[in-house]
């Protein structure tokens, strides 16, 4: 039960932060990416602001093995920069620029975003459902080389 409560709390903080920072406004996200137009630096402040508590949390987690509720803390990050990471991130960035939405804000705006937002979310969920297939194909191509 405690896990569910704290997961809800974490999600609530995430959603409130996305809403208050303006990141659910696609114009502000596209404004950040529009370096050849009227550039809007807000997203950099959001990212910077988010990294402060998060970096402190990682420092606190260092040397500890278990979370407060007893589950193991994440292992050290992988270091390998593979094809999937680069190709996937380029695909994601292209869609992010096109619509001004990434997964978090798309979900955060679900209650008030209206039909156009729901179209985006439906397509995003479809993409996520198809991703394992794309990954298998990519692995085959890599293996064939």
């Amino acid at each position: 039960m405690a896990r569910l409560v704290f997961a809800f709390l974490a999600g609530g903080l995430f959603g409130a932060g996305l809403f208050l920072s303006g990141m659910t406004d696609t114009a502000k996200v596209q404004g950040f990416l529009d370096v050849f137009g009227a550039w809007d630096p807000t997203l950099a402040f959001v990212m910077g602001g988010a990294m402060i508590p998060m970096a402190l949390a990682w420092l606190y987690a260092r040397g500890r093995r278990h979370s407060v509720l007893g589950s193991p803390l994440p292992a050290a990050p992988e270091r390998r920069i593979d094809r999937g990471l680069v190709l996937g991130s380029v695909m994601f960035g292209t869609g992010w620029g096109l619509a001004g939405l990434c997964p978090g804000p798309a979900i955060a705006a679900l209650s008030y975003g209206g039909p156009m937002l729901w179209i985006f979310v439906a397509a995003m969920l479809t993409g996520m459902a198809l991703a394992p297939m794309l990954r298998t194909r990519l692995d085959k191509i890599v293996a064939a080389e």
Binding site: F6, F8, A10, G12, L13, F14, A16, G17, L18, F19, S21, A27, Q30, L33, F36, L43, A44, F45, M47, A50, M51, I52, M54, A57, Y60, H66, S71, L73, P74, P77, I81, L85, S89, V90, M91, F92, T94, G95, W96, G97, L98, A99, L101, P103, G104, A106, A108, S111, G114, M116, L117, I119, F120, A123, G127, M128, L130, A131, P132, L138
Partner: protein, 143 residues
Amino acid sequence: MQLDWIWGLIGGMLIGTGGAVFLLVNGRIMGASGIIGTLIDGSAGRSSGEKLSFLGGVILLPLLLTLIPALRTVDTHISQMPLVLVAAGLLVGLGTRLANGCTSGHGVCGMSRLSVRGFAATACYILAGVASVAVFRHLLEVI
């Protein structure tokens, strides 16, 4: 608005605090695409409840905040072209799962622990995003 960067900083710190709670209390990395994606492709398993609860918070808190008039704009300024939204949604869904992370997982959580993959992914999606807006807004003028 001139105060936008302050709102950005405040909102950002709330996002980071959410990530800190999820890490230190639940022992999980707060990555939106991973949380949604593993629920969609069925690989969430025993963590499903926790992830659904997290998403409940993500949806409910903004809804409550929209009830406070004049706090922030509720206009998402989203594109009115379904085709653009379908293409963008598919790219975001496929891409984030293929890369195993998005702005929250690779960006906020990855870079703050100095993860090489976090920095590499963030560089890729920001550069692709800049190129995407340059091409679709300034060259083709479709967005």
